[in-house]
Amino acid sequence: MPVSSDILNVLELSGVTKRFTSSQQTAPALHEVSLRVRKGTVTGLIGPDGAGKTTLMRLIAGLLVPDSGQISVLGIDAVREPLKVQQVIGYMPQRFGLYEDLTVQENLNLYADLQGLPDAERPARYAELTKMTGLAPFTKRLAGKLSGGMKQKLGLACVLVRPPQLLLLDEPTVGVDPVSRRELWSIVYRLVKQENMTALLSTAYLDEAERCNEVILLHRGELLGQNSPAEFSRQIEGRSFQAVLPGINKRSLQSRLACSPGVIDATIQRTGVRIVMKNKMQPDAANLPDGIRIEPVPPRFEDSFISLLRDKDGYHTIRNVPSVQAAPAGSSGEDMITVDQATRRFGSFYAVKGVSFTVKAGEVFGLLGANGAGKSTTFRMLCGLLPATGGKLSVAGLDLRHAPAKARARIGYMAQKFSLYGDLSVQENLRFFSSAYGLGGDEQRERIEWALQEFELNEYAGSTSRELPLGYKQRLALAAALMHRPKILFLDEPTSGVDPLARREFWTRIAGLAEEGVTVLVTTHFMEEAEYCDRLVIMAEGSILAEGTPDDMRARVQSDRLSDPTMEDAFIHLIEEHETARRPDAVLAKS
């Protein structure tokens, strides 16, 4: 079939179903997905981990064969003629598909050869791409030595070497700092406009949906809807409100509002709590605390996504916030974590350089930063897993240099990716982690019972943790970290990849723990989650750029141009300030 240039729909899927039979794989199936992508648009494929985004991308790229249904890419049947499809699309897989031991230029050369770009056209195209991505000064650098954001842009440049008609980007913004994320979006829009491309990109960040012309919502392999973000928002017009109650902790206000009748979503946002109501319901002032101020706000995409998910999954609240039954924490105001001029060097590279902060009992303290900013290294030092090269760190009054094991016994630690034993059942995992912390006999039985009850894991008690949905894995990991009633909880990227409902539930639990006096230290790359912290630091290249409450951070960047900045605005502003201070010649892409 000839590729006609005036096709309106660049991509058409009808009734596509894909199942994975292997018992090892928990990859999602796609069920009867039909959709269309119009020429010249930027379409976002949005859904949490496990929704089937990657499977859908791979089907379109001809890497997977659907069990049933049709996929047509620019009029070519992707099932029968994958090679032809591959000649007209550009596909950037997760992790960008770069050869880290090749230089920037060598990666470009390779993909130019593979895409069949004639030698004569190369110098001009290379110049154009490296200029657009800001990689021009680094062409001789090994790809492995680039920062996360630069890798992402190189990955994109490699896909674009020979301009594709359809650009598929699979989670291009995961693990990349907000500055690079903004740059990527502006590049994609420029491409669509200047080179007449169509872009389909998947993301787990809901706020990115608003940047798309059109959004495809995917949840557990099913299509929840396809529309423009504005249309999604319009559907729930009049149901979003902002509630402000001065003088009360925002976290406790949030958990109270979340339990109020008719509220389907409550998130901390800026100075108050954003709530979304059920259809045809208004916030009921009688049931709300005195002095609360509730104003209608324009809906955003995320509100409608949550609303759609609630319709689908039913409404589920945590009625009783789990009680850790923690040993009485130190009197409030006591320093639980002290980091003083901590430094960690690997060879000549400083992963953490002169970092200082203190966390008081019952505080939720956040470490924010892009990949490679030094968050995880700081964490490992605080857990006594990595000795500091210099400086002093103490946890619960114990110096980690002298008593790392004793300090660890007071910490609950939830590692990135949850580090559970996939082959063990939920019950066995809990038994293992509790005995690892020295629990036995009646006490252990009682704690396991508590964990199954409070985290609503009873129905999964016998299934292996590998089979659990991600949200349940996260619950189990948190339960495991709390078995020994720690006073201090360390959470390393606890919500990464988890769907928005599970994330909300998670934060409700954390708020409950903080209320009981548990001190929480958390890293996250979701900027809006920083709002749940009492105080936070923003890190870049191993040092702290700023410290303060979320309000402080936003206040720092408030200006006439940006009257109501978000956490992400604040973060980007601080990073850019840092970059320009460090290299005055740095070229920053305008967003």
Partner: protein, 383 residues
């Protein structure tokens, strides 16, 4: 140069893709110290280990000689052991002392002449000699047994000559060792070792580098480019073929000039048959890589399915004819077996065409089978 000006755009694009794949692989090999290590450092280590460290020859084996009542006859007998370069005898007065020495591993065997040895010998009775050998290492034990037998036979001959009579042995053994006249184990170990080295480069290294592409997510990126499955395979095959031939030349050079292994056949024949085996090994590596998507699994499969058989079932160290019949059947499925036969023939015997051709034909079958299997299984799909 009509070929280069071929106007067919698809063929031109195909050549361009091959160029990209080959250049990329070459750069990766040069930059990755582990490929160089497997292709060149490992062969050197193995060659040194087998060339110098491991020897199946028994030389200067410590042996206890117990003479309970020394006399002229016993002195002559004991002296015959001293003449042998394979044995280094130590004298003991009593069997108890000698047994202690055997237990403490200071000697590997005992030759025991009792009190009545001379008396019986002179009276014409048969005079028994006790021989005790440490049988823990059966191989060495058998060798010692042979040497001791040899030593006392030569003593008997000398004695007969001295007594101006002829020894009454109706059959005389006149051993003549062919192909490896000095019976140096190095001479057959090192050619066989080349098969192991080629397996390492062809199968293990290749399976691991493809698995690495899966692990790092680059394979997925390659697959969505217009590159064909055939080009993907060739892009891995050619660079590692060259690397393997490099390892081969290094091994042959070291064998000939460092370890003085004779090369009696033709070098060209050796290179050609080695190329054949290398392609078969690459085929195995690529087949493994179509099944294993992380380096750990690929490495495990390659070691169990290719490296260990090449080591143990190829006749490189252990003689196939002395294996149980069932195991002998299994060795027929091991490509390295045919290559080891060729290697040992070309190095030690020369161009014995019948052996070489027969084994080469089998190697060709292996090449066709594994390359075909890899090609069949190499699909540009992820499921």
């Amino acid at each position: 140069m009509r070929f280069l000006q071929n106007p067919d755009p698809e063929r031109r694009a195909g050549r361009m893709r091959m160029r990209g794949m080959l250049r990329k692989e070459a750069l990766q090999i040069i930059r990755d110290p582990s490929s160089i290590a497997i292709a060149f450092v490992l062969p050197i280590v193995l060659l040194f280990l087998f060339g110098y460290g491991i020897s199946l020859d028994a030389k200067h084996v410590p042996l206890a000689v117990v003479v309970e009542s020394p006399s002229a006859e016993t002195a002559g007998f004991a002296a015959s052991f001293e003449q042998s370069e394979y044995l280094s005898p130590q004298r003991f007065g009593t069997i108890q002392e000698a047994e202690q020495a055997l237990i403490h591993h200071t000697v590997n065997g005992i030759v025991w002449l009792r009190n009545d040895f001379e008396e019986k010998l002179l009276s014409g009775e048969s005079a028994p000699i006790g021989v005790i050998i440490n049988g823990v290492d059966a191989n060495t034990a058998r060798i010692i047994e042979g040497y001791v037998n040899g030593a006392w036979t030569s003593w008997l001959q000398q004695r007969a000559a001295a007594h101006a009579g002829t020894l009454n042995i109706p059959v005389r053994l006149q051993p003549r060792v062919w192909f490896n006249a000095e019976m140096r184990s190095r001479n057959f170990l090192i050619p066989g070792l080349i098969a192991v080295i080629m397996t390492l480069i062809g199968a293990l290294l290749t399976a691991m580098v493809v698995a690495r592409e899966w692990e790092r997510g680059t394979m997925e990126a390659l697959m969505v480019t217009p590159v064909t499955a055939k080009e993907l395979l060739l892009g891995k095959l050619l660079p590692y073929f060259i690397l393997g031939m490099g390892g081969l030349l290094l091994s042959i050079g070291m064998a000939m000039w460092l370890f003085d292994v004779p090369l009696r056949g033709s070098l060209l024949l050796l290179l050609l048959t080695s190329a054949l085996f290398l392609v078969a090994a690459l085929g195995m590596g690529l087949t493994i890589s179509t099944a294993a998507r992380d380096q750990f699994v690929a490495g495990q499969i390659a070691i169990v399915a290719t490296f260990l058989p090449a080591f143990m079932l190829s006749g490189f160290i252990f003689d196939i004819n002395s294996m149980p019949a069932a195991v002998q059947l299994v060795t027929r499925l091991i490509a390295a077996r045919y290559y080891v036969a060729i290697l040992q023939t070309v190095f030690l015997a020369g161009n014995v065409w019948k052996v070489i051709l027969l084994n080469s034909v089998v190697l060709v079958l292996f090449c066709v089978f594994f390359l075909g299997l890899a090609r069949r299984r190499m699909v540009k799909r992820l499921d």
